[in-house]
Symmetry: C2
Subunit: 133 residues, 2 copies
DNA sequence: ATCATATACGACTATCTTAGTCCGAATTAA
DNA sequence: TTAATTCGGACTAAGATAGTCGTATATGAT
């Protein structure tokens, strides 16, 4: 239904929170409490953002997260690809060639669908965390 | 994951088929066979398109469907709204006011999310069946 | 009239994805 | 040593999507 996943929503709220926080380091607990997001779930999200080098993590007591990339460099496409694993408006698109689809041998809408995919992707490329601050 | 539903995909294929068909009237059977789409499922889709006055139906033997609107007037947003019931990138958006969201009492991303929603909606407004023919 | 071929429509089921939980680590400052 | 934190995988729950089934209704052809 063309909907942002909760993971991405949570990530946006968390990133905004981190960006605007007066503290250098912010814990997953703090964010999950603030927004009533299940702690374990948010923790996983932040861990993925760390792997993607969007966040930097500090382990142990007094640990937490802080930005590794600057807000204007964190694109919405990156969040979607990292957290949802993919960015494609149809199952048959995997970011590769236009001819990969073998789901419908007589599918006639490959070309326009690919065009829309590319346009959408460009659109989300232009959206960064800066737009959320 | 920001994906078009199968319903919308099927609708696009079906509409394109109807538009480019040399026959005045096309049956659901013909289309479902052509693309290996489950017949009952496609039938429901076409019925919804009929209610939306995108298609016109003819009952009984030799019945079927034909376009009621011209291809350039059938927008992708219409298909999504009709078939998926809604068009919103987040649960808290229902096309109404920006302040309807009560999911997160401290949600801080309402405004930017609403902006993106509107931009996306405009984008899909510009896409019509003409783009698929 | 009857029959075969269509659409119309609601209820149901199956499948897949997403969201959320649980458990046990490893790390580190106090 | 302890408490607070990140890390990682496996699991379960919930919800949305996809697909099925049964029946009714309309209508042209025989």
């Amino acid at each position: 239904m063309l909907r942002l996943s909760k993971k991405v929503e949570y990530a946006l709220m968390a990133l905004r929170y981190i960006v605007t926080s007066k503290d250098d380091i912010v814990t997953a607990k703090e964010i999950s409490t603030k927004f009533s997001i299940p702690h374990e779930l948010l923790a996983k999200i932040l861990q993925k953002l760390k792997k993607e080098r969007i966040l930097e993590s500090i382990k142990g007591v007094n640990g937490g997260y802080r930005l590794e990339k600057s807000p204007e460099k964190i694109k919405l496409t990156d969040l979607i690809k990292t957290l949802d694993g993919d960015f494609s408006i149809t199952e048959c698109i995997h970011g590769q060639s236009e001819d990969d689809c073998n789901m419908f041998k007589d599918c006639t809408i490959k070309t326009p669908v690919n065009k829309i995919q590319k346009e959408l992707e460009s659109f989300f490329e232009t959206k960064t965390i800066s737009d959320f601050v």
